[in-house]
Amino acid sequence: MDAKEIIARRVAREIRPGMLVNLGIGLPSLVANYVPGDSGVYFQAENGVIGLGARPPEGMAEPNLTDAGGGFVTAVPGAASIDSAMSFGLIRGGHLDMTVLGGLQVDARGYLANWTVPGRMVPGMGGAMDLVVGARRVVVAMLHTAKGECKIVPECTLPLTAERRVSLIVTELAVIEPTEAGLVLRERGPGISVDEIRAATEAPLHVAGDVPEMELGA
């Protein structure tokens, strides 16, 4: 199982039946693959649909039904079309149960930076800032390191996405919960020891008692 699959499988277990969930582009979008089809979960795409379905079969794409990345999708029975105002009303008004987003850095305060590397990558924040401010739970799904550098740092050096403490960080090495008191190590990746996680993490980690290994489902 590769690192991304570990992360996607573990994040999927955070999703409860009936939730309204927004998945970011890239790694977070893989999470949908591990959510049971009969769970009554509704996926929202911020461009305006609740009840996002799978990619359409070859030749059956509808040009007016895409996800936030612009890719063709389908919709489940009971789906709803919404305009951008309603879409972000749902996000900002606390109606979105969970968002899963990628990260460039998360710091000891639980603050996320995930939208820009000044001078190098300035794509715009899209809906990321709204999602982090407004979603009930913000789960960061990311690799533990990028180009050898740890992404979990004492304090973000990149511009923040929001001043909000995210709910959970899931990497291939660890599940970490940001709390008032700092980052708490909750689970270990498959076959990874607490010491290995500490060694790979720049930010201080609190460890209380036994740290179980992630459960990743069937």
Binding site: Y42, I50, G78, A80, S81, A85, G93
Partner: protein, 216 residues
């Protein structure tokens, strides 16, 4: 999937002193069976947020007559003389809000906005006690968001995913209130299977609705 409940079961959820956002404009687009159940149960001390207090014999107007309403936030009470009398006598607290400001305040509550900046009410009694914010040299009243414990909605169609579709002038405050309460209860004229309401006809997505009232 939502399970349809009976009006009296819905009424039991609503505790004394709750704040209710109630859809409807002079009773059109109001959840009449739900309101009747609340009146039958007699729950008191309610705060009603609604466009108006209707007439004494209809919709939220009946809750005023029965003495269950402690406070109302509305734009109009002109056709409910009982409400006017109770207000004058100090038996009921009534906050009169310009209609456009009322709907925007509820929207702000539901959309996570900090308030509404509006010119409506400037230079009138509505301005009293409120913060005035200047933007580009123009003055605006800062009006606060409104949220409720419950939103009580009426729609023409619902499906069992909770999606709602409204008709004609029965839309009014319903689609806005759907976002602004902790618990949302919807009473539809017709409940249809999931998939029967086209996505483009849905005006309140089912994820916002907690409970549906079963057919009459």
């Amino acid at each position: 999937m939502k399970t349809a409940i009976r009006p009296e079961v819905a009424a039991e959820m609503i505790g004394e002193g709750s704040t209710l956002l109630v859809g409807g404009f002079m009773g059109v687009g109001s959840p009449l069976r739900l309101i009747e159940a609340i009146r039958n149960r007699g729950t008191g001390g309610l705060t009603i947020v609604c466009n108006d207090l209707c007439t004494p014999d209809r919709a939220v107007g009946t809750l005023v007559v029965s003495g269950q309403v402690r406070r109302a936030i509305v734009s109009h009470i002109g056709l409910n003389p009982v409400a006017q009398k109770k207000m004058m006598a100090g038996e009921m607290e009534i906050e009169l809000v310009p209609q456009g400001t009322l709907v925007e305040r509820i929207r702000a509550g539901g959309y996570g906005l900090g308030g509404v900046l509006t010119a409506t009410g400037l230079g009138t009694p509505v301005e009293e006690g409120k913060q005035v914010v200047e933007v580009d040299g123009r003055r605006y009243l800062l009006e606060r968001p409104i949220r409720g414990d419950f939103a009580l909605l009426a729609s023409h169609h619902a499906d069992y995913a909770g999606n709602l579709a409204y008709v004609l002038t029965a839309h009014n405050f319903n689609p806005i209130m759907a976002l602004a309460a902790t618990t949302v209860i919807a009473e539809a004229e017709h409940i249809v299977p999931v998939g029967m309401i086209p996505p483009d006809a849905v005006k309140t997505p089912g994820v916002l609705v907690d409970h549906l009232l079963g057919r009459a």
